[in-house]
């Protein structure tokens, strides 16, 4: 995983609540493997017509938003299925951060595992950011993970909170499995006591 530090990138607004992972990546593509590449399939049915042509009104099909690396969404973004393919699709398209009032819990966890930063902001902040991006298509949002700040196109700063463990892993680009394996003795000791006490488990 690539370390995440600070970005200053084009942001796209997506003001629909409950964008589920079936929208982000439809189920019919899920047989593909991780390295097959997923960016071209992101939001497939929202982005493309049946004949493969683009739906011009979809936000990422508008020239100014095409290079977006930050998404400003609405409540409950990434709800539904646990498919990590949703995160892979966003990441492979180029997204590095999603800002929303709330996220689907599993999507939220999956994001950290892949270097995509989910940022929770109050509804009003998300609305204001989306309005700013609509007014000035192609405007940038800065995300500073170290300082836990986002900077709106007009320079307004907003703080965000993040789990320290998650932050540490993102900043370092750490592989969680390796980190956990370094605790192998603790795991083994736990298992021994646990299984002695509850042999049927």
């Amino acid at each position: 995983m690539e370390p995440f530090r600070k970005i200053d990138e084009v942001a796209a607004p997506m003001g629909t609540p409950n964008v589920d992972t079936d929208q982000i990546i439809p189920a019919r593509f899920l047989w593909r493997m991780r390295d097959d590449g997923w960016g071209h399939l992101l939001f497939n049915d929202l982005r493309f017509n049946d004949d493969g042509s683009e739906k011009p009104q979809f936000v990422l099909n508008r020239a100014e938003y095409r290079p977006a690396r930050v998404l400003v969404a609405d409540r409950n973004f990434g709800c539904g299925s646990s498919r990590e393919h949703a995160v892979w699709s966003l990441y492979d398209y180029g997204f590095r951060a999603v800002i929303a009032p709330s996220f689907g819990d599993i999507f939220f966890n999956n994001s950290f595992q892949n270097g995509l930063l989910p940022i929770v902001q109050p509804i009003e902040v998300c609305e204001a950011l989306r309005a700013a991006l609509e007014q000035k298509p192609g405007a940038h949002i800065q995300v500073d993970l170290e300082a836990q700040k986002i900077i709106a196109p007009d320079g307004t700063e907003f703080d965000f909170t993040i789990d320290p463990f998650r932050k540490e892993c993102l900043l370092a680009g750490t592989d969680e499995v390796r980190f956990t394996l370094s605790q192998a003795d603790k795991i083994a000791a736990f298992e021994k006591t646990y299984e002695n006490g509850m042999p049927w488990m």
Binding site: L30, Y194, W200
Partner: protein
């Protein structure tokens, strides 16, 4: 391991018993008792191979193919599409190479992973159970803490038998009173989601409590816990009681002999203590719940069948109005029309929400002596459910009524095996998600209980099952 001082909730007791490492920032390394794996998990096995890591505890890991299997026949050859077939083949290879127990095609124990776990007695009170699937909360009905994870976390559990998690908040949803005739567990959970919204449970583990929940069978509790994720919660659970213990006793993987007695006395300590505090409490009156249907593209858009399609003009704010308009447009519905006037093109009875034996019994009872007027199918949740239903003659009832009787799998819940609803077609479905395109591109889904699905199948429109019961 943390022993609770003072009164604790079911969730807190299970969480505390599984803590291996608790960091000062709250990140907790949890021990995982059961890891269930399905035919969508091949990316996680690939990750392990790339890292050259073995599966740490194959004895705690159980696999079965469900998403990609054909419901028209058993065996790999029944899967026409090579990409789908390779998903099922890969699971077999991965299980074999890693020593994980596999209930494969051709084995009666194969089925939807969330039906198989409880059925085999793999899902037990007090356990932490995970699976790379969002409907893992289902197993919480056994008095376990069960939640879905993504592919990276599946790989993490395979490699370490642990997971890093942050403790969720704890919510209790109490449903007291008696359910009316024709009202089932599915209606209860749809009513709950309509009340608290699709994000209402976000960040929480939900405990379902109250006399209406207590009086449900395990099958009914599984249906309720199953859709916790549709309320935004990763975990939903019901305290274990005699209903749970009776269900478990004698199942293949349930404890036996002296272990059973030991387990039983432990399980009895698990229910939430009197006076334990929840971060949030929600109450519903069972008597007020009617048979429910969804009219939109989120499970929160559920209403009693006696109601009407809502008018976006009445929505509080512009965002809500806009999303309702879009949903009604996709669903092809007019504001104000009676829900019971909505014609359906097809009916699906199945999925990890409603494909257990009790669901099929209730559906067959209503279907008996009636005729479907639209294409309708029944897909049992496992090979064992299918065999049981056939032993009881339910398959014959369904067939006589015009239903197709299929082999076990996820099927039309998500259509990954090719069982799809055609674009523009309207389906009354006992599954759990009415998302845009969920059952196929352009498919329109109305979520209902199994008896409401039968009512729709024999009337050709969404129908209050109670009007049929009166005439039965």
């Amino acid at each position: 391991m943390t022993i609770m001082a003072g009164p604790a909730t079911l969730f807190e007791k299970i969480w505390g018993a599984h803590e291996i490492v608790v960091r000062p920032d709250g990140a907790t390394l949890l021990h995982i008792d059961r890891h269930l794996v399905h035919d969508g998990s091949n990316n996680a096995f690939r990750t392990l191979q790339e890292k050259k890591l073995p599966v740490r505890r194959p004895d705690r890991t159980f696999a079965t193919p469900d998403h990609y299997v054909s419901t028209l026949g058993r065996g790999l050859t029944a899967i026409n599409d090579p990409n789908r077939r390779s998903m099922v083949e890969d699971l077999k290879v991965n299980a074999k190479e890693t020593g994980v127990t596999l209930f494969d095609l051709g084995d009666k124990r194969q089925g939807i992973v969330h039906v198989v776990g409880p059925e085999q007695g793999l899902s037990q009170p007090g356990m932490i159970i995970v699976c790379g699937d969002s409907h893992t909360a289902t197993h919480g009905a056994m008095g376990a803490l069960a939640f879905g994870v993504g592919a990276s976390e599946v790989a993490h559990v395979l490699a370490t038998q642990t997971l890093w998690q942050k403790k969720p908040r704890n919510m209790r949803i109490t449903v007291d009173g008696e359910l009316g005739p024709g009202v089932h567990a599915k209606d209860v959970i749809l009513a709950i989601i309509a009340k608290i919204s699709a994000a209402g449970g976000t960040g929480h583990a939900i405990e379902y409590a109250g006399s209406a929940i207590r009086s449900l069978s395990i099958e009914g509790r599984l249906t309720i816990c199953n859709m916790s994720i549709e309320a935004g919660a990763r975990a939903g659970m019901v305290a274990p009681d005699d209903t749970t213990f009776e269900y478990l006793q004698g199942r293949p993987y349930a404890p036996k002999g002296a272990d059973w007695d030991k387990a039983l006395s432990f399980w009895r300590t698990l229910p939430t203590d009197e006076g334990a505090a929840f971060d949030r409490e929600v109450h519903l009156d069972a008597a007020e719940i009617a048979p429910m249907v969804t009219w939109g593209t989120s499970p929160e858009s559920a209403s009693p069948i006696t109601g009407n399609v809502p008018d976006p003009a009445g929505a509080g704010d512009a965002v809500r109005r806009d999303s309702m308009e879009r949903a009604l447009n996709y669903m092809g519905l007019e504001p104000g029309m009676a829900l019971s006037d909505i014609k359906v093109d097809r009916v699906f009875i199945g999925s990890c929400t409603n494909s257990r034996i009790e669901d099929l019994r209730a559906a067959a009872k209503l279907a008996n002596g009636r005729k479907t007027v639209v294409p309708s199918m029944v897909v049992p949740g496992s090979g064992l459910v299918k065999a049981q239903a056939e032993a009881e003659g339910l398959d014959a009832i369904f067939r006589r009524a015009g239903f197709e009787w299929r082999e076990a799998g996820c099927s039309m819940c998500v259509g990954m095996n090719g069982d799809l609803v055609a674009p523009g077609e309207r389906c009354a479905s006992t599954s759990n998600r009415n998302f845009v395109g969920r059952q196929g591109k352009g498919a329109r889904t109305h979520l209902v209980s199994p008896v409401m699905a039968v009512a729709a199948a024999v009337s050709g429109k969404l129908t209050d099952v109670r009007t049929l019961m009166a005439r039965h």
